[in-house]
Amino acid sequence: MLDIRDLDIYYGKVHAVKGVNLSVEEGELVSILGANGAGKTSILKAICGITKAAGGQIYLNSKDILNMKPHKLVKQGLGYVPEGRKIYPLLTVKENLMAGAYHRKDRAGIAADLERIYEYFPILKTKSKVLGGNLSGGQQQMLAIGRALMTKPKFLILDEPSMGLAPSVVGQIFQIIGQLRKEGMTILLVEQNAFHALTISDRAYVLETGRIALEGSEQELKNNNQVREIYLGM
């Protein structure tokens, strides 16, 4: 479904991503792991068109999306939950969700999806008229995921959904991600919290200073000492 070839990204003089190859099959949950500054977020931003890549190709459903304007990508079925959540602080919860449906025209479908998201996250329904900025961190993360789902994505990208959340909330968020995967969503997940991410992933890539250092299935990576030492801290 997603196919990245020889991706190169520069920030000024810094070569942040160096010739990365990466693919995600339909229905898979793939994680990108790695320490801070390894280039994980850069890859996601390049997929979403926010960061311009210096070289390489990105195909989504065999369509070259590398030079597509970001505001046109959403129609390709790309849902994005950014690092730090980036919810709209001055819009209500409902307005935040409706903003996700901006590009859609099917009123009935939008209403149905809204209900579905309220089922996933009942707290969002009870707080539907509260300003996004007044939610707690965990609730904001749920809102960010809900907003991405409102775009009716075929392919969902999550950037550090556990960042800055208490462990109990992290568990809840990962449970929901796992559930989405079971319902057939294709997901690309970026995480520092390697243990949690690996538990729900089919496959994972481990990034080290802009290069892919390791790649494999959940089991392979969990049993690989190298990952353990550097990333799992066990």
Binding site: G37, S136, G164, L165, A166, P167, S168, V169, Q172, I230
Partner: protein, 254 residues
């Protein structure tokens, strides 16, 4: 001996109590951890202690003097320095300038010296730079001395923020999530730095941290906050085995 004493401190934001009647104290020479789930009021507590927020009620005592009515810069001059959760560097200044800007406060140059073009300005400048150099050396930052703060690697920025706080010559250092965003090697280095600050420089350290492994390994006492209340206080063993803490902090599934 109690260095810092927090007595029945509360702070409200528009009716919402971010911290509610919290009391505890920090012993001189301790490494003291403050933990708790997100939104439990840890950073607010730090902001009250460092004077950025005034407490709605309650008092903060430092070296047996009340400090909760002082402006932040006076609290700092009393010997209490801090770092921030989201780095707050002087972004457009070099590493050396960041440190010097802090050292200037105690350097003794008067405004009049500038008006009279006194050589004193240049002499003290030399002393200041020398002091800054030593501090940079101690924190392994010398190679970065002439780099603008916002173009430093993240780990170096964090280290520099700690060095800068130490330039105020504090008795107590408050660290707000020093390990956030660091990888494991960097976190281990950080633990070493914190121990160095306490053991060799004799500075008491209070830190807020999410990285439980680090907190448990370096702190002697830990205060747990939950929803603005103080939940429990004790040694890492006591805290990590407390049922209340486990259910409130770690969630049921752990």
């Amino acid at each position: 001996m109690e260095l810092l004493k927090i007595a029945k401190v509360s702070r409200e934001f528009g009716g919402l109590k971010a911290i509610d009647d919290v009391s505890f104290s920090v012993k001189k020479g301790a490494i003291h951890g403050v933990i708790g789930p997100n939104g439990s009021g840890k950073t607010t507590l730090f902001n009250v202690v460092s004077g950025h927020y005034k407490p709605t009620s309650g008092e903060v005592w430092f070296e047996n003097k009340p400090i909760h009515k002082l402006p932040p810069y006076k609290i700092c001059r009393a010997g209490l320095a801090r770092t921030f959760q989201n780095l707050r560097l002087f972004k457009q200044m070099t590493v050396l300038e960041n440190i010097c800007a802090v050292l200037d406060e105690s350097s003794g140059v008067r405004i009049l010296d500038y008006f009279l073009f006194l050589n004193r300005v240049l002499r003290i400048e030399k002393e200041t730079v020398l002091k800054a150099e030593k501090l940079l050396e101690d924190f392994n930052l010398s190679e970065w001395w002439n780099v603008q703060a916002d173009s430093l690697p993240y780990g170096v920025q964090k280290r520099m923020e700690i060095a800068r706080a130490l330039a105020t010559n504090p008795k107590l250092l408050l660290l707000d999530e020093p390990a956030a965003g660091l990888n494991h090697t960097e976190t281990d280095e950080l633990s070493g730095i914190i121990k160095h600050i306490r053991d060799d420089l004799g500075i008491t350290v209070v830190l807020i941290e999410h990285d439980m492994k680090m907190v448990m390994s370096i702190c002697e006492t830990i205060t747990v906050l939950n929803e603005g209340h103080l939940l429990i206080e004790g040694t890492p063993e006591v805290v990590s085995n407390d049922k209340q803490v486990i259910s409130a902090y770690l969630g049921g599934e752990w």
